[in-house]
Each structure stands twice: as C-alpha cells, then as structure tokens.
C-alpha cells in the first residue's frame, strides 16, 4: 500500500492508533509499518497522544443536575427568551451589535443630511440667488433691510469678519 505520510492520508494512521481502521486495511498497514520508519514514528507519537488524552478524566456530573434542569424547565419561558433563542439560531446573534451600530450611523447620517440640506439662513452679507416673483422680491428686500437694522450693533463688533 502507499505510504500514508507520503500520500498525505495520515488519518489512516490515526484510525489505526484508535483501533477504528477498517478490518481489511489493518493487516496491510501493519505490514507497511514494518518497512516504514516514518510511519512507525508517527504511530508511536500518535499513540502517546491517545494515551495522554485517555488519562484526562472529567469530574462526575453533579448529583442535582437533573433537579436543577427540571426547575429551569418549569420556569415560565418569556417571549423575550423565545425571540432571543430564534435570533440566536438564525445566526443573527453577532449581527445584532453590527445592526445597532449601522442604525446609529444611519440616524446620524440622516440628521446631518437634514442639517446640510436645510435652507441656509439668509445673511445680510451673503448673496442669495433664487427665482422669485417681483412681489416676493419687494418683500425680501424689506426683510433684508429689517435684518440689516437689527444686526447693525453686531456688525460694528465684528468689523473684521468676512462676508
């Protein structure tokens, strides 16, 4: 048989170590191991791993595990828990903070857009170009004159301000 290491099929060697290799393949591999030092070393190292993992015991389960579980089962299952569970299993758990952040960014963008798109406050020194009717023009001029009178003290304080 082909060398499992050369053919990158080391799972055969792992299976051999765990005793789960198909019965018909074990004799073939055993024969190969007699001639292949690399595979022999692999098996030796893997067996050491297997033995080490075998020795790693876990503590017994608590005697009151079932009792505690049944207590939790008997507790009312709120609609929030059901929603959270459905979101959890639909894979949205990690998307929630992303969605929340996106919502915040979107809101901020909408607010900024509102601020920027709002009609600018007419300043007495700025030129406002728009299509207006003659009556509207007269009214606008009257308003500008009124604004000018109101802002006169401010203008004297800001003599160096730009237009």
């Amino acid at each position: 048989m082909k060398c499992p290491i050369d053919s990158r099929e080391t799972e055969i060697l792992v299976a051999y170590c765990s005793g789960s290799l198909a019965a018909e393949r074990s004799p073939l591999l055993a024969s190969h191991l007699e001639d292949c030092a690399a595979c022999r070393q692999f098996v030796k190292d893997q067996q050491a791993v297997w033995d080490a993992l075998d020795g790693w015991q876990a503590a017994p389960v608590s005697a009151d595990f079932n009792r505690r579980l049944y207590q939790r089962i008997e507790q009312p299952h709120s609609w929030f828990d059901r929603l959270a569970l459905s979101l959890h299993w639909s894979g949205l758990r990690q998307a929630i903070p992303i969605a929340a952040s996106a919502a915040v960014v979107l809101m901020a963008g909408l607010l900024l857009q509102h601020n920027f798109s709002a009609p600018p406050v007419a300043h007495h020194n700025s030129a406002v170009v728009e299509a207006i009717q003659p009556d509207d023009l007269e009214n606008a001029l009257s308003e500008m004159e009124a604004l000018s009178q109101l802002s006169r003290p401010v203008r004297s304080d800001n003599a160096g301000s730009k237009m």
Partner: protein
C-alpha cells in the same frame, strides 16, 4: 398543538419513520425516536435522553471550556434548548449530531465571550468530587500522583492551546468517537475541512505530548 398520549401500542419505529419523515431518513436512531416521543408529550422519554447523554455532554463541554461549573451551566442550557425545541423537532440527522451542535455552539460562544478566563480550573485544584486516579491493587505514591497530575496539566494546556474548532473536532473524534461525516455536520463544514482540522490538531498535540510515551 397538544397531542394526547394514549395507551394504544406505539407503531413500530420503521412505520413511524415512513409515516413522519418518509423514505428520506432510512436509518433513524433510537434517540431520534425518543425525541419524537418527547415531541408528542412523553416526558419520560426526555428523561431517558437526559440520563443517556448528560455525562458525555458535560464532559465534552468541560474539556472545551475547562471549567466544571461553566460546563454544567452550559449543559443545562443544551438540554433546556432541546426540550424547548421539541415541538419543531424533525429527525433530519442523528440526535447526537443535533445535540452536539447545540453544545458546540454554546461552548464556542462561551469561549469567545471569555466567561471562563479567570475561572479556569487546574487539574490539581482540590475538589471533593474530582475522580481519584484508579490504580489497581497498588496505591500510587505521592510522587506518582504528582507526576500524574503534572502530566494531566500538560494535556489540559495542550488541548486548551488548540484553536476552538480544532479543539471541538478532536474532542468529538477522540471522546465521542464520531466519524468525520458526523463531526462535519456538527461543525457545519465539509468533511475535508474536518480532516484538515484534525490533521492540524493532532500534529500540534503530537509535538507537545509525544514525549509522554
């Protein structure tokens, strides 16, 4: 929908498979049959499943998160979810595949949340319920016990150092004796991905633990 459980004889398992899920699932395991009975309202069947799978699930979670208290808490959540999902349960895969998929999911979330970082147990922590190393006939000497504890600490660290998915794959392959196909379904990846995970995991473990031979 509440279904009344009657005392009439239950149909044979194969008849139930053909009636409920058709010919798609041809090898329905006993656990799936029990879970279908839980779906029908049979609480005793849930107890059977719990007693059968409680220890493997807790031990799997313990080796994943390496904290016994957290492992039991997560295991409780696993079985709670199994029970609460009973109404929509469909045996599209082996029951243990579904069970360990829930367990792995919760373990990975717990690890990523870092809930256990500061409470990771050492193997030599004294605990009244910790298993005593079994040596037939001869009591281990103090030195032997210390050597054994040091070795197990090394094993624990080696497994803890594995990336989470590699760790899960190794634990399912070694302790649950799952085939690559089933591990792939649990981890929701391809079989070749599982082979790759195990190849790298065992390569790392051999490098760290081979000297124990």
């Amino acid at each position: 929908m509440t279904r009344i459980y009657t005392a009439e004889p239950q149909p044979r398992m194969d008849e139930r498979v053909n009636r409920d899920v058709g010919a798609v699932v041809t090898a329905l395991d006993l656990d799936a049959e029990l879970m279908l009975r839980v779906k029908d309202g049979d609480g005793a069947s849930f107890g059977i499943l719990l007693d059968k799978h409680r220890v493997p699930v807790v031990h799997f979670l313990y080796r994943m998160v390496q904290n016994h208290a957290v492992a039991e808490e997560l295991a409780q959540e696993v079985f709670l979810r199994v029970y609460r999902s009973r109404a929509t349960y469909e045996p599209t895969a082996k029951f243990t595949t579904w069970l360990f998929r829930i367990a792995t999911h919760l373990a990975l979330n717990s690890l990523r949340d870092g809930k256990h970082d500061r409470t990771q147990e050492r193997l030599d922590d004294t605990a009244p319920d910790m298993p005593v190393r079994q040596v037939p006939d001869v009591k281990p000497s103090v030195e032997q016990s210390m050597v054994h504890q040091a070795k197990m600490e090394e094993v624990r660290k080696a497994v803890a150092a594995l990336p989470e998915k590699q760790r899960a794959a190794v634990l399912m392959h070694k302790y649950q004796e799952m085939e690559y196909t089933q591990i792939a379904k649990v981890l929701n990846c391809s079989e070749s991905a599982v082979k790759s995970l195990l190849f790298r995991a065992y390569e790392t473990l051999r490098a760290r633990l081979a000297h124990m031979a």
